[in-house]
């Protein structure tokens, strides 16, 4: 059967990893290529690169970094950040991305999902949503979680899947950075609503949070995190060993 995926996420600005720190045996932790190789050697099942650059020059550096990574890393690569058009899909796919995640660009123009799915297949289109509780409902936030769109989140996700999104990254703003575990309430609602793979994001603080995630919600396919992996708080090989000991299927 399919294994649960563990996915480190790298925020890249101007060709460098943001918040890259302290890894033994790694001289330059802000080099995305080196970090990607390190993770690949150490049990990551997939990598997500978010381009948080604002400038054209930064974007160019990002695609260079992506190309060099894809030349050396042979696991699935998902790319997000600044994806607003089918041409943006084309740009990153040509550099070796396997999947492209859309967020604010799809909120502004939901047809982007349909156009990209038609051209590249559903499996290529990942809908990433930043979600927060507002007035007793789950709301979608845009622009990196800064703007309340007023859109109800579960309906948005259903619509995204109907338009052709083949996978979801569900990032809970409420649990993000708190490190007390994933947002199980939100993720349960999402799993009930759709049947495409769901990647949980936001809130992982320790290995036990992943056990709780996969044991409570068998419908969740993957756990994504950044800082706990980057800071070496939770080494992925140890995390996978622990998951396996709890009877959760992982790739060894």
């Amino acid at each position: 059967m399919i294994t649960k995926r563990i996915i480190p996420c790298l925020d890249v600005r101007d060709g460098r990893v943001v918040k890259g720190v302290n890894f033994q045996g790694l001289n330059d932790v802000s080099d995305p290529v080196a970090l990607a190789e390190f993770y690949t050697e150490n049990g990551a099942d997939e990598l997500v690169f978010y381009d948080i650059t604002a400038s054209a020059e930064g974007r160019k550096l990002f695609t260079e970094v992506l190309t060099r990574t894809a030349e050396r890393v042979f696991i699935p690569l998902t790319v997000g950040g600044g994806i607003n058009t089918v041409e943006d899909f084309d740009r990153v796919l040509k550099c070796g991305a396997d999947k492209v995640s859309v967020n604010s660009g799809a909120i502004r123009r939901p047809e982007l999902i349909r156009e990209a799915a038609k051209k590249y297949g559903d499996q290529c289109v990942v809908l990433s949503a930043d979600i927060k509780r507002v007035d007793g409902e789950f709301r979608v936030f845009a622009r990196g979680g800064r703007d309340d769109t007023g859109i109800e989140a579960i309906g948005w996700i259903r619509r995204g899947v109907a338009l052709g999104a083949g996978e979801l990254v569900i990032n809970s703003i409420d649990t993000d950075g708190v490190k007390r575990g994933f947002d199980l309430e939100l993720l349960e609602r999402v799993c009930e609503a759709v049947s495409v793979p769901v990647i949980a994001s936001g809130g992982a603080g320790r290995a036990e949070d992943f056990i709780e995630l996969f044991e409570t919600l068998p419908g969740v396919d993957a756990g994504l995190a950044a800082s706990i992996f980057h800071f070496g708080e939770v080494p992925i090989p140890a995390l996978k060993k622990l998951l396996a000991e709890h009877g959760i299927l992982v790739r060894n």
Partner: protein, 203 residues
């Protein structure tokens, strides 16, 4: 030299990179002369069976490809490229494949239990049914590889070299004489996948 057959379907970047990583020289080839000049052939593919089969024929590459294979040149199909090796595919209607291996490409929805997600996407373990297959010599049962597909090849057990359990045993790799196929993506399957590509290069 390994020819990656370019008939307008899919992104060849990862395939080229992964062969480079195992030290193999590749050329992206879109004409008959290129196929003839190569030692081995790779048939990639993503998308739908019917479109890809039509594009392969319209590219004029199907006939020379079959000629090279009949002369004994090793061929490996990957993902949809593997599915095209079979007699026919049932994705959006019935479409003819290359018929290099007898079999039909069918929806996995018909054979797996309800409730499992489709596509079959992610890392799944191989169960080798023909461990003596030379391209699987670095692979052990239980090794995981990366799948993304909604259709699978139904063929005679003697052509199946590995399966993956997704509520039902799905054909993961096949072989008939000098024709090989992988439903999964060896170029995205880490060390296990690179091992398979290396073994193909060393045939």
């Amino acid at each position: 030299m390994i020819a990656i057959v370019d008939y307008g379907v899919g992104n060849l970047f990862s395939l080229k990179s992964s062969f480079a990583a195992v030290g193999a020289e590749t050329a992206v080839v879109s004409d008959a002369a290129g196929l003839r000049a190569a030692d081995k052939l790779i048939l990639p593919g993503v998308g739908a069976f019917g479109d890809a089969a039509a594009m392969l024929r319209e590219s004029g590459l199907a006939e020379p490809l079959l000629e090279e294979v009949s002369s004994g040149k090793p061929l490996m199909g990957i993902c949809l490229g593997m599915q095209l090796l079979f007699t026919k595919g049932l994705e959006y209607g019935e479409h003819r494949g290359l018929d290099l291996i007898p079999g039909t490409v069918r929806p996995i929805a018909g054979v797996i239990p309800a409730g499992l997600k489709i596509p079959h996407i992610g890392w799944n373990a191989l169960q080798l049914t023909a461990p003596e297959d030379p391209i699987l010599r670095s692979v052990r049962s239980g090794d995981c590889v990366y799948f993304v597909h909604s259709f699978f090849a139904e063929t005679e057990p003697r052509y199946v070299s590995a399966v993956a359990d997704y509520g039902a045993p799905l054909t993961a790799s096949v072989r008939r004489e000098t024709v090989w196929g992988c439903q999964f993506h060896p170029e995205k399957s880490g060390k296990v996948g690179l091992g398979i590509l290396r073994s193909f290069c060393e045939l």
